[in-house]
Symmetry: C2
Subunit: 300 residues, 2 copies
């Protein structure tokens, strides 16, 4: 079924213990759509500046990402610069230049409005909510968020939470949103705020899925080398949503398979800067790690 | 089959965000043997001082822990004092008084020498090795260690590793022993040093088991409240070894079940100071959480 993502496209400059990458393709919607494209077509809504490179457009288009929802605005594309140190679990933002993002309000093209699966990548909650009003009712709406909006836009976030089906957030954000110190309490508390499914991302420690019907815990795919964690969360979400949209079902078994696929795609993401590793693999490599992860967690 | 543990009995004074406990029963062998006693009898070798309380002896004896290997030495029992802050993953040691432990060299009673499963709780590696020479050949010998010995007794540790079947250590220790930054590399590297099984404990993030035949990843049992992490690792090991020794088999399915049981017993341990929570539960509560954990990790 049709999958829509609304979010950022960016150029990132990143330092990690493994090295440095300058002005590489990034952004939540970029990462999400590339990850989801392993499972089927994706529709992308976002904004870029006049400096957005042709080859980056082509990279996404060649993967079956429909770019009809990309606006080109006067000025430069969004830029983010960050550094990872030590255990690489938390990025330290060095610089953020909103550029074309500053005045942007997402417009979902008419041809995208019938999307049955909608992902609202991290943005101010009011902007995320404006997307829901532009798509046909009945879509499965899933959102991501970040600590900044939990701190500065609580009321908007609370309203948005009542309108989404599922929420991705990391462990620290789950504690912030809920005010609960342990993840099991936090996940359950967030279920009472609106979403029917809450997915808590724990980086190298895997992820939890909470719903009223079941709880599911998976480890991250164990990696020998971690080069750059940027995009891990967005490609995790892209793998989850790409799998669900392509399968067209959202029952317990499908959510579980989606979590494993998300974890697998994220594992490739962090093995190189930008989309470097994902660009070198196909569905076979994804399925091989999916089977690995099933084996690593196979019950006695 | 018969299970022997050699290690410390202690009185602990502990501060955590949840409160403070003074002079409570602790020590690796205490925690291990209480945990293992959920599955069958345990033989304990260790030393206490003249101040060791009758009720603490009775507590263990009533659980089927054979105390024939406990020496009572002139002086005071071993004391440890520590504090946990923030995420409670690491204890800060405030004070260590070796007392009777200082001169102690473990003596395995003749009646314990035929033990088929032997656990060497954390001690200087040379002392741990002296125990191997006192038990009949062919026992499954499993050890724990700590950062102190990795730093200060490398050669002894390397010799000991070549004589044990399995090793428990935490994530930080696995990186120290192997010099590898990621756990998957660390685990594999340690397998080349002697042990056929390496179990890496990751606290609230679960545990990994490495062997040449399989890799197994489990999450920790998700807890609503964490009161005191002291003893979590020792009761995890106690649950693992207690289950294995009682089942009498050490194939893949048994190691996996043992890991889940270890995780479950550790989850009860951290819900109260000392043995407070473990004392209030029976095998039924353990089996209920074991089933929970199987359900939480059940594949799609």
């Amino acid at each position: 079924m049709s999958l829509l993502v609304v979010g950022t496209l960016a150029y990132d400059t990143i330092e990690t213990p493994a090295g440095r990458a300058e002005e590489v393709l990034g952004g939540a919607a970029t990462y999400f759509s590339y990850a989801a494209s392993f499972f089927g077509p994706v529709r992308l809504v976002g904004v870029v500046g006049e400096d957005f490179r042709k080859e980056d457009r082509a990279l996404l288009a060649d993967r079956g990402v429909d770019l009809a929802g990309i606006s080109v605005a006067k000025g430069k594309s969004f830029r983010w610069s960050g550094r990872y140190e030590g255990d690489m679990n938390v990025a330290q933002t060095l610089d953020t230049q909103l550029n074309v993002l500053e005045q942007y309000r997402p417009k979902v093209p008419a041809s995208f409005r019938d999307s049955r699966f909608v992902f609202l990548a991290n943005s101010p909650p009011a902007i995320q909510e404006s997307v829901i009003d532009q798509v046909a009712p009945g879509a499965l709406v899933v959102m991501d968020t970040m600590n900044l909006w939990i701190d500065t836009a609580r009321a908007d976030l609370a309203r948005l939470l009542r309108r989404v089906d599922a929420l991705f957030l990391n462990d620290q954000e789950a504690r912030m949103v809920s005010g609960e110190p342990t993840l099991i309490r936090a996940g359950r508390a967030i279920l009472t705020l609106g979403p029917k499914v809450v997915i808590v991302k724990k980086g190298e420690h895997g992820a939890f899925l909470f719903s009223k019907d079941f709880f599911y815990a998976i480890p991250a795919y164990p990696l020998e080398v971690v080069t750059d964690p940027t995009g891990a969360g967005d490609t995790f979400a892209g793998g989850v949503m790409g799998y669900l949209a392509h399968a067209g079902k959202v029952d317990e078994a499908h959510w579980k398979r989606a979590m494993l696929y998300g974890s697998v795609i994220a594992s490739f993401t962090v093995e190189a800067f930008s989309l470097g590793r994902l660009r070198r693999i196909g569905r076979e490599e994804v399925d091989a790690r999916f089977r690995d992860l099933l084996r690593f967690t196979a019950p006695p």
